[in-house]
């Protein structure tokens, strides 16, 4: 409970004082006031999701439809974001691509979280040589900047969506693994685990019922941030021509395709997809900031 003035308006901690026992909406409002990151992140995330889903279900124009007659039209009433060199409507492509990138980001984060948590749990709980090997491999993986690591793996595996997802996931697993393992080690000797073992619970039961819930917190926050990292990295890889290829409307591909027109003044092909990326990653970062605040039990 923070000692700052915030939050001491309605209802005191022990229930005495005015407006005792605040309802759910009052608690939500107080939470939003204390944590502006939640507000900003929530709004952005909602907007991104709505836009992305709408872009898949009902885009204004077909994102893949070529229309050579209208190539490189600047933003205007017919095409809000203009058209690209093939006459495709940039607005529709950005919406569609946003959906793609957000979906990829979520998948990568979920995979990295699952693998990292499992490996971290096992390594931390079993200890011994299992732990040693896992930690050495993790250290080596982390001895590369992760973008470059993902790049190398993606180059080796080949240029498909699936391979990019695998490559980026591999680069992120060490972060989740380390966090999980660290929490496991801290918790392992704790009393309630020893108590459970004393009562004869099997090792795996102890792991899932007792150790898991308490070690997952920081990793969940990190996984949230990973969604943003993934969007940036995957689009960065596509921009370089690795991984997802044209004519896919992935946002990084779009930016790359528009790059050659930048110097001749047709900026809209590259700029708008980037704005979409920023909004999505901002949403994730603000939500992650909020989650981190909650994790450490502090008001913003």
């Amino acid at each position: 409970m923070g000692l700052t003035g915030a939050g001491f308006g309605a209802g005191r901690p022990d229930g005495t004082g005015p407006a005792a026992g605040p309802g759910r909406s009052a608690r939500l409002r107080s939470e939003l006031r204390q944590h502006p990151s939640l507000v900003v992140g929530g709004v952005l995330a909602a907007a991104t999701l709505i836009v992305a889903i709408a872009g898949h279900i009902a885009p204004p124009h077909n994102p893949l439809a070529l229309s050579p007659g209208h190539a490189l039209a600047p933003p205007g009433p017919a095409h809000w974001f203009g058209t690209d060199q093939f006459g495709r409507d940039v607005f529709s492509r950005v919406l569609y691509g946003l959906g793609m990138d957000v979906a990829i980001g979520l998948i990568v984060a979920a995979l990295a979280f699952a693998v990292g948590c499992a490996a971290g749990l096992v390594a931390g709980y079993l200890g011994g040589w299992v732990d040693d090997i896992v930690m050495r491999v993790t250290d080596i993986l982390m001895s590369f900047p992760s973008f470059l690591l993902a790049l190398s793996i993606a180059v080796v595996l080949g240029n498909t969506v699936r391979n990019v997802i695998i490559a980026v996931t591999i680069a992120y697993v060490p972060y989740i693994l380390r966090l999980t393992r660290g929490s496991v080690l801290a918790v392992r000797g704790a009393d309630y685990v020893l108590g459970a073992r004393a009562v004869g619970a099997s090792r795996s039961r102890v792991m899932t019922l007792h150790v898991l819930p308490n070690t997952v917190g920081p990793s969940v926050v990190q996984a949230t941030l990973l969604v943003g990292w993934a969007i940036l990295d995957v689009s960065g890889l596509s921009f370089l021509g690795v991984g997802i290829q044209p004519p896919s409307p992935e946002l990084g591909v779009q930016i790359a395709q528009g790059a050659s027109y930048i110097t001749s003044g047709q900026w809209w092909v590259s700029v708008f997809p980037g704005v979409a990326i920023i909004l999505a990653v901002l949403a994730v970062n603000f939500l992650g900031d909020y989650a981190d605040d909650k994790l450490r039990g502090r008001g913003s």
Binding site: L148, P174, R178, G228, S235, I262, W267, I278
Partner: protein
């Protein structure tokens, strides 16, 4: 101190060994045939065979690993089939150009990020603090390559301040002799002022691009280190004894923030290595990043492998240097005692983005 140094160096060596092995595994246990790529799509079986033998691909994995290790030991990273030079030569001659970018952008980012971070940390909860934190969040949400393009649109396309993004220097400039392969240094050394200034003008936008994104992690780390230090017992003691604000800032706050902020360098360097590929591609800057991108698009295996090895080596060496610098800055390590050091801190964030560190399970 000696124990600490030995431990750090030992770990670095082990990690390097691991990288060497990992790179071999990744590039040799892959689906796909390097010989096929090199031969081109129309080679017949015989030519393919010849090339395979040339590349040593017909030998056992163990034999290949053996010669791989031998080559690396001699600094032989193979030959780039696109440039025709040895990879080692290519990388070494292009490294200074990337270094120019790295140094320039880091100077920019540090001169903005550190003062802002300290100010934000000292004025926690104020507008400055909020601005700093929000700026950092925004900074880590921007795609680096997109930012580069936007800056080109604005400063070259619309405002015509910056030169065209076509490399380090305009094509008609007189190129100085290559002492260091760094155009800036070479033109400086040979007194070629027009080229020197031209290079600086070309350096501006790419350095600013990298610098903007680089500022965010520096600001975050400096801010959090300052927060921690400003709330410490020893700062309270200094205030209790009436020491001047300047003295407290200098000797208590900054002296203790510095070692913590040093970890930012590791993060920054990792970011620079990854970011250099993107920025050099956009601005056509002739560094190792552009070289790597070319290697990737032409699947020049030796070049790719050499680049990865070089990056791994640099990253490990730099982190080792930071660990040693940390020892110099923090007397607790220099004169033995608790296991401190930057490696015992939360894992380094990457690409300038934040990594969560586990809170201690004790309630504060």
């Amino acid at each position: 101190m000696r124990r600490y140094v030995i431990r750090r160096v030992g770990l670095a060596v082990l990690t390097l060994a691991g990288i060497v092995v990992l790179v071999f595994m990744v590039t040799h246990i892959l689906p796909g045939n390097p010989a096929l790529v090199q031969a081109g799509g129309y080679a017949n079986a015989h030519t393919l065979h010849v090339i395979e033998r040339q590349m040593g691909l017909n030998r056992s994995l163990a034999a290949q690993f053996g010669s791989y290790l031998g080559n690396i030991a001699h600094g032989n990273l193979g030959t780039s089939y696109t440039t025709g030079n040895t990879v080692a030569h290519d990388l070494l001659t292009r490294l200074p150009a990337t270094a120019e970018l790295a140094v320039a952008s880091t100077i920019l980012a540090t001169s903005v990020g550190v003062p802002l971070g300290v100010a934000a940390g000292l004025r926690a909860g104020s507008v400055t603090d909020w601005a700093g934190r929000t700026g950092a969040i925004i900074g880590t949400s921007i795609p680096l390559y997109w930012l580069g393009l936007v800056l080109i649109v604005v400063f070259y396309g619309k405002l015509h301040i910056a030169p065209a993004p076509t490399g380090e220097v305009n094509p008609f400039a007189a190129v100085p002799p290559s002492y260091t392969h760094s155009l800036i240094l070479d033109s400086l050394l040979s007194g070629n002022w027009p080229t020197f200034f031209d290079t600086l003008r070309h350096l501006a936008l790419p350095a600013i691009t990298l610098g903007i994104v680089e500022t965010a992690p520096i600001l975050k780390i400096t801010r959090s280190a300052t927060l921690e230090v400003a709330g410490s017992d020893y700062v309270r003691t200094a205030r209790a004894y009436g020491l001047s604000r300047w003295e407290i800032l200098k000797s208590d706050v900054l002296r203790n923030v510095a070692p913590k902020a040093l970890t930012a360098l590791g993060i920054v360097f990792g970011f620079l290595l990854g970011g250099s590929i993107l920025v050099e591609r956009i601005y056509d800057w002739p560094g190792i990043g552009l070289y790597a991108w070319n290697a990737v698009t032409t699947t020049d295996y030796d070049a790719i492998q050499g680049y990865i090895l070089l990056v791994g080596l640099m990253y490990v060496l730099l982190n080792l240097a930071i660990d040693l610098l940390y020892a110099v800055a923090d007397p607790r390590i220099r004169f033995g005692s608790a296991g401190g050091g930057p490696r015992n801190r939360p894992p380094p964030a990457r690409f300038g983005r934040r990594v969560i560190s586990p809170p201690s399970i004790e309630r504060h």
